[in-house]
Symmetry: none
Subunit: 237 residues, 2 copies
C-alpha cells in the first residue's frame, strides 16, 4: 500500500465510492485507487449506493454514465439537488468522447469526465486533481493536459505532477503552440513564425534548442514532445 503518493493531500484517508455495473472495471479502479492510498467502496447498482450514502458520505464519487437500472445522469442530478450531498465531487465515466458534449450541454456538471477506455493511472491522476482543487479553492483555474501537465495562464505558471516548472516566456509560448492542436505537427518555420512573427532571419537550429530546454524543464511531460523526422515537432498524449 503506497501511502506516500497521497502526501500532497490532507492526511485523513479519502473514501471514494464507485458506482459501476461492470465488476471488472469497478475492481480495476478500486485496486488502483487503493494502491494510491485511497479507501474505496464499490456498488453495482444505484440502490445499493443510495443505501450506503445515507450511512456514509464519500469524499468523491466515480460514476458510470451507463448504468443498467438508472441513468448515471439521474444519479448526478439527484445528488446535486440534495443540499447534503451536493458538495460531493463527481467524476463521470463515459463510453464515447462525443457523449461528453452532451453532458456539458446538459443541466448538470460533473467535476471531471473520463472516457472509456481509460488508463487507471489517468483516472487516479484525475481523482487527485479534483481532490486537490477541493482543498485549495483560491487557486486558479488550471488547464490540465495529459494527467501530469497543468497550466495556469493567468499566472504564467506551469506544473508537472503538481510541481512548478520554471519556463521562460518563449518556452511557454512554444508549449502553448504545441498544445493548441494536440498531435498536430508544427514545422520549425511555423514555430519560429509564431514565436516572433517579425524576425525572419532566425535559424531552424534555434527551435531544436528551445525544444531541448522545454523538454528538460517539463521532466516526464517532456517525453510527450515528439519529433517527426524531416517535418517538425508535435505534442502527443
Amino acid at each position: 500500500m503506497n501511502q506516500s503518493q497521497n502526501s500532497s493531500l490532507d492526511l485523513p484517508i479519502k473514501t471514494i465510492f464507485i458506482l459501476e455495473d461492470e465488476p471488472d472495471i469497478a475492481e480495476l479502479i478500486a485496486i488502483n485507487l487503493k494502491k494510491s492510498g485511497f479507501k474505496t467502496k464499490e456498488f453495482t447498482n444505484a440502490d445499493l449506493f443510495y443505501k450506503q450514502l445515507k450511512k456514509e458520505k464519500p469524499d468523491l464519487l466515480i460514476l458510470d454514465l451507463m448504468l443498467p437500472d438508472t441513468d448515471g445522469l439521474e444519479v448526478c442530478k439527484s445528488l446535486r439537488s440534495n443540499s447534503s450531498y451536493s458538495s460531493i465531487p463527481i467524476i463521470m465515466l463515459t463510453a464515447k468522447a462525443d457523449e461528453i458534449d452532451k453532458i456539458i450541454g446538459l443541466e448538470l456538471g460533473a467535476d471531471d469526465y473520463v472516457t472509456k477506455p481509460f488508463s487507471p493511472r489517468e483516472l487516479v491522476a484525475r481523482v487527485k486533481a479534483v481532490l486537490r482543487r477541493e482543498i485549495d479553492l483560491n487557486n486558479q483555474d488550471r488547464v490540465r493536459v495529459a494527467d501530469i501537465l497543468e497550466i495556469d495562464f493567468a499566472k504564467f505558471e506551469v506544473y508537472v505532477e503538481g510541481k512548478k516548472a520554471e519556463l521562460t516566456n518563449t518556452e511557454l509560448k512554444l508549449l502553448k503552440l504545441l498544445l493548441h492542436k494536440k498531435g498536430w505537427v508544427y514545422s520549425r518555420g511555423q514555430i519560429l513564425d509564431y514565436l516572433d512573427p517579425d524576425d525572419k532571419g532566425v535559424l531552424d537550429r534555434t527551435v531544436d534548442v528551445h525544444i531541448k530546454n522545454l523538454r528538460e524543464k517539463l521532466g516526464p511531460a517532456g517525453k510527450l514532445i515528439k519529433n517527426i523526422r524531416g517535418v517538425g515537432y508535435k505534442f502527443e498524449v
Copy 2:
C-alpha cells in the same frame, strides 16, 4: 434552499446576472447559485441583458465568451469602459484553453474565468471568492495578505509587520491592482492604464521605477512582487 453557505458574505442577497446563450447551461448555473442563496437573472442575448442593466445593477456577471450575436469580450469591454458599470465583477466562461489568452490580455479584463466543462460547485466557489475579494477591498477593515502585509484602504494606510509604510498614492494604487487578482500577471501596459487611464504617452520604464519604490517601501513584503520576464509583474503569495 441552503442559506448558510452564504454566511461569510454580506447579509444583503447578491444578485447575479448570467449572460449565456445556451439555456441548459444558464439554468444549471442559476440552480446552483440559488442553492447557495444568490438571486439570479438569465439572459440569452446581449440586448436583453443591456436592457435590464439600465434598470438594475447586478453584484456580479457571469459571461459566456462565445455568444451568438455579440462577442463576450465586447460586452466585457463596454462594461469596463462605462464608469457606472466598470466596478461590476465579471466571471468569464470559456470553451477552449487558448481563449484564455484573450481574457488575460484584455486591459482590466475579467475578474476570473472558468473553462468548460466546469462543475457548478466550482463556479459557485469562484463567485463567492470574487465577491469576497470585492468586499475586502472596499472594507473599512484591514486586509491581511501573506501574514506580514496589512492594508487599510479606507485610511490609505499600509503596514508591514505592524510598522507603517508611507506609500504615495500611485504606489498604493499599484499595490491594490497587484493584490486584486493575487498571482495574476499584469503587463506594464495594463498597469499604466490602471494608474492613469487618460495618459497614454507614459513609458514602460515608469512602471519599473514604481515597482522599485514600492518594493523598497514594502521591505520584506516587497519580495512578493515578482517580475515575469517579457510579460509583466505579479504579486505572489
